[in-house]
Amino acid sequence: MQRAAHTALYDWSQIVGPATIRQCLKCKAPARQSSRAYGVIPAPRDTDEREMLHRILRVDHAGEYGANRIYAGQMAVLGRSRTGPLIQEMWDQEKKHLEKFNEILAENRVRPTALLPLWNIAGFVLGASTALLGKEGAMACTVAVEESISEHYNSQIRALMEKDPERYTELLQIIKEFRDDEMDHHDTGLEHDAETLPGYWLLKNAIQLGCKAAIYVSQRV
């Protein structure tokens, strides 16, 4: 029994040994990452950095929460129409984003914004009211919101890159991934006749103004 275990271990080490050595020679920077204990954001060095990171996470969480509610509103009106499945697909991606941010906030003990109930109602009302304008209305709303969010993520990426790209690699990765998803939604909206809506320009700018105000406020409250 012992001999069997011994030979099993011996075989295993034979298999694992050279492969792992080759792996370790290939990868150059695992040591630093493993010392960071699998967190998305690095442990803040001082209160200023902590404030900055918490603000970023708080507003991103609020953004994803609002986007969720907008799609929920759109689904409530257009759920049973032809565009239902399309909206559902985009909504599912937003749900994943929100889940990820919930995880990050809980892990890092970030305070969520106190305006969440407001974004809950406002998002739902925005989604439902634009969906009442028909499929083009819903798509126009999607285009406007996703454009705002992408712009916002881009400015966050710029800020983090300016500060210290290596320190914030994981956070940058996540924000870039989410920004790419939001750009996809934006393009989907354009593909599905968002611009054919009468008053498109007015609606788009109004929604974008509202998003800017929401972002400004959520960073602070």
């Binding site: 969480h61 941010f101 919930n102 906030l105 809980a106 003990r109 305070r111 969520p112 969440l116 109930p117």
Partner: protein
């Protein structure tokens, strides 16, 4: 015989030489103590000038080392001041400080102003039962550390600084205890407590830290209510409540975050108020009050949940009724 006489004369000459050497340093006792106090003042100035320099890399504190070193300096000064060679004493103890400066190892000896203030305030706590939360307590604390009572000039907020320091200390003690318990649970060496029990134990542990100062605690509470102290005391209260909920397992990221902390803040503040006028043995009335308040919150939470599920059921019922009505009136038919 002649050799003996010669030896005696040589011995007298040597003793004479010795007295000649000792003459400049042989002083009256008063002069010696004056020189020693100048020497001590000079050392203190040196220390303070070092602490005024901008902080170097290390933020770690070497309190014990620093304290041991200063007491060592004073004891060497004291012991060698009594001997007949004061200059030698000054030279022997001064190399301790100049040597550090020259070697550039500032981290070992160096202490920031905040660390010094923290040390003074911690020392002042034992005089609080006697002098209350006031500058006198801080002055007494400074004196036990060997500093002059004029060092209270560092504290612009005075009693407020002392109370806030004490509260911060209690909070960090509580966080340590909670982290230790958390580790025990994660290692499987302890059972996780239910939320209500955990909250009760955490608040009780934290309030028990006030027991040695309970006589003067009303004064401390009124100091915390002064307008210039309110932001700091609120900050400490919010970090306390956040820590307790975090270790109780709260990971919510919605409005629950706010409602839970608000509830616990209410419980903590009211229990504190009950505690300062509680005269039962071991504050048993306070802990009973705490139990009841936590029970209230738990009941309210379960009532809220019940209301929500009832509401949902009602809405579903109404929707069903509306659909039935639409069917009955034929509105739902496709024409």
């Amino acid at each position: 015989m002649a050799a003996l006489l010669r030896g005696l004369r040589a011995g007298r000459a040597i003793r004479g030489l010795g007295s000649v050497v000792a003459a400049p340093t042989a002083t009256t006792p008063q002069c010696r103590s004056l020189r020693r106090s100048f020497h001590c003042a000079a050392l203190r100035l040196q220390d303070e000038s070092k602490s005024d320099k901008p902080p170097s890399s290390s933020s770690t504190t070497y309190h014990e080392h620093y304290q041991a070193h200063t007491t060592e300096q004073y004891t060497t000064a004291a012991s060698q001041g009594d001997s007949a060679s004061d200059p030698a004493a000054e030279e022997a103890s001064r190399p301790n400080t100049s040597y550090q400066d020259q070697s550039g190892e500032q981290g070992e000896e160096y202490e920031t102003e905040e660390q010094l203030q923290a040390r003074i305030l911690t020392a002042a706590l034992e005089f609080v039962p006697q002098h209350g939360w006031s500058m006198e307590a801080i002055a007494a604390g400074a004196e036990t550390l060997g500093l002059s009572s004029a060092s209270t000039g560092m504290f612009y907020n005075g009693a407020g600084d002392l109370v806030l320091h004490f509260i911060a200390q209690c909070n960090s003690q509580l966080t340590e205890i909670l982290a230790e318990q958390h580790k025990q649970v994660q290692l499987g060496q302890a059972e996780p407590k239910k939320t209500a029990d955990f909250l009760r134990d955490a608040v009780e542990t934290r309030l028990r830290m006030y027991i040695p100062y309970i006589e003067t605690w009303p004064q401390a509470m009124s100091i915390l209510l002064l307008p210039h102290n309110i932001p700091d005391s609120l900050k400490h209260l919010s970090t306390l409540v956040d820590d307790i909920w975090y270790y109780a397992g709260d990971r919510s990221t919605d409005m629950n975050w706010y409602t839970k902390r608000a509830a616990l803040t209410g419980i903590y503040n009211t229990t504190e108020l009950v505690m300062v006028q509680d005269s039962s043995p071991d504050f048993q009335d306070t802990w009973n009050f705490l139990d009841n308040r936590i029970q209230d919150v738990v009941n309210m939470a379960s009532t809220a949940k019940q209301v929500q599920s009832t509401g949902e059921a009602v809405v579903q019922g109404l929707m069903g009724a509306a659909v039935t009505l639409k069917n009955l009136t034929g509105v739902n038919q496709r024409r």
